[in-house]
Amino acid sequence: MKLLAKSPWVVHFNCNSCNGCDIEFLACLTPLYDLERFGILHMGNPKHADILVVTGSVNHRNARVLENTYLQIPDPKVVVALGVCSSTGGIFADCYNVLGGIDQVVPVDVFVPGCPPRPEAIIDGLVQSLGKLEAKRVGKAVPPVTKLVRTFRPPAEPGEKKED
């Protein structure tokens, strides 16, 4: 019996997000999408949760907080990186304080692309993570993570003038 996949509880962590992804995530709980029909509850407490949903890129200040939140979730657990910022750092990747995607700090199981992702994509990502959650419980090998988004930085040309 798929114990974990039937009642996944989610804790949502806003790392450094612009709140676009957070609003889209909360939209999944509305009557139109109704995540609770899968038994998914929004917990707000890592000690009760199975899935850690992270929005926004990780920086020097919140890396420790994110790791702490991750460690408070009892095993088996999965991490879903919601949106392009939490996958790679997004448009903030070049900021002086940003470390990049959250996979720099915690192991990520599912990357959900988009800026912000559509509610359908978020639900799809969460449902994908349920399979990994179940695989972790029975000790099966978890399929490798596919990162659909990559950071692209054009190399600086020599002698290029800085724009004002």
């Binding site: 019996m1 114990l3 974990l4 039937k6 009642s7 709980l29 009557p31 109704d34 609770e36 029909r37 899968f38 038994g39 509850l41 929004h42 917990m43 707000g44 407490n45 000690k47 009760h48 199975d50 009892p74 095993d75 088996p76 419980r137």
Partner: protein
């Protein structure tokens, strides 16, 4: 139908008194879980959602047992086990038709165990949840005590506190305790952690104080709290059914009506502050209950 019930009742009481409690220890949490699942489904439908399956609370508990047990200290785990043990004891004593005053105290001690457990950790949210749970007890316990007094006065002379006396009343309890029914219903709304009184720990997807008294419990220990809540749901609606205990079909109907009414109350009210709750309970339902007791004395039943 009625004579069949009498036969069954006589069998349980005279021939095999341990049978009903033994069945209820297994059946009560299942009934409680079913009611909680129904609660979530109806709440979802009221809000225009599809909602989780009816058996969702069972899935939740099974999942929690599959999780890693993390705990901070042994004391608060001990308290949560006491919470479950005393809740089961309250259901068993009620099934055995024991002294209803003792049953009420056992039930109150079960809640106090949960509060002590929440106070045995250093999380501020857990402690605020515990203090609010105490205020909830301050709000509803007088009504429960007055219910017991009213029950005592309603039994034929010589009066008795025995819950089994509810089966031998001349008229339903509701006829002698009409004002205690709404008062007890208000207490039920608090016990079920429903809006406007869900101040100490949010149920479902409502959030208050992160998770209030249950904050530091995870995995199997949280499952123990969930199971205790299933017993409690069964317990409080059995007390509700006692208002028409002379015919348990009507009693069960009354309990079901109260169950649906508290879902509607939950969905049509916003959460209010702790002290508003205490003021409301002492000003409204407790006064109603007191008037009922005074009226019982006035009609010479005291």
């Amino acid at each position: 139908m009625w004579s069949a019930w009498e036969t069954i009742h006589a069998f349980f009481n005279r021939d095999c008194p341990a049978f009903l409690p033994a069945v209820l220890v297994v059946a009560a949490p299942l009934v409680g879980a079913f009611l909680m699942g129904l609660d979530r489904k109806i709440t979802a439908r009221i809000q225009g959602r599809i909602g989780p399956p009816i058996l969702q609370p069972v899935y939740d508990v099974l999942k929690l047992f599959a999780k890693e047990p993390i705990f901070l200290n042994r004391l608060y785990i001990f308290y949560v086990l006491m919470h479950l043990a005393f809740m089961i004891l309250a259901v068993v004593l009620l099934a055995l038709g024991q002294d209803i005053l003792i049953i009420l105290f056992v039930h109150a001690f079960s809640t106090i165990s949960l509060i002590l457990g929440a106070l045995a950790v250093r999380s501020p949210f857990s402690r605020i949840g515990a203090s609010r749970k105490i205020m909830q007890m301050v709000a509803y316990e007088p009504v429960l005590i007055l219910f017991v007094v009213g029950f005592y006065l309603s039994t034929p002379v010589p009066h008795s506190f025995l819950a089994s006396g509810a089966m031998h009343l001349n008229q339903p309890l509701l006829f002698s305790l009409p004002l205690l029914l709404p008062a007890y219903f208000a207490a039920v709304v608090i016990k079920m952690e429903k809006s406007p009184f869900d101040v100490s720990a949010g149920q479902h997807a409502h959030q208050e104080l992160v998770r209030g008294v249950t904050l530091e419990y995870s995995g199997p220990f949280l499952a123990v709290i969930k199971i205790a809540h299933f017993y409690e749901v069964f317990f409080i609606f059995t007390i509700m059914a006692m208002f028409w205990s002379t015919n348990l079909w009507i009693g069960a109907g009354l309990a079901l009506a109260a169950f649906f009414a508290q879902i509607v109350v939950d969905n049509t009210n916003a959460r209010l502050t702790t002290f508003w709750m205490v003021r409301f309970m002492w000003g409204g339902p407790m006064l109603l209950a007191l008037c009922n007791i005074i009226w019982l004395y006035g009609t010479g039943r005291g």
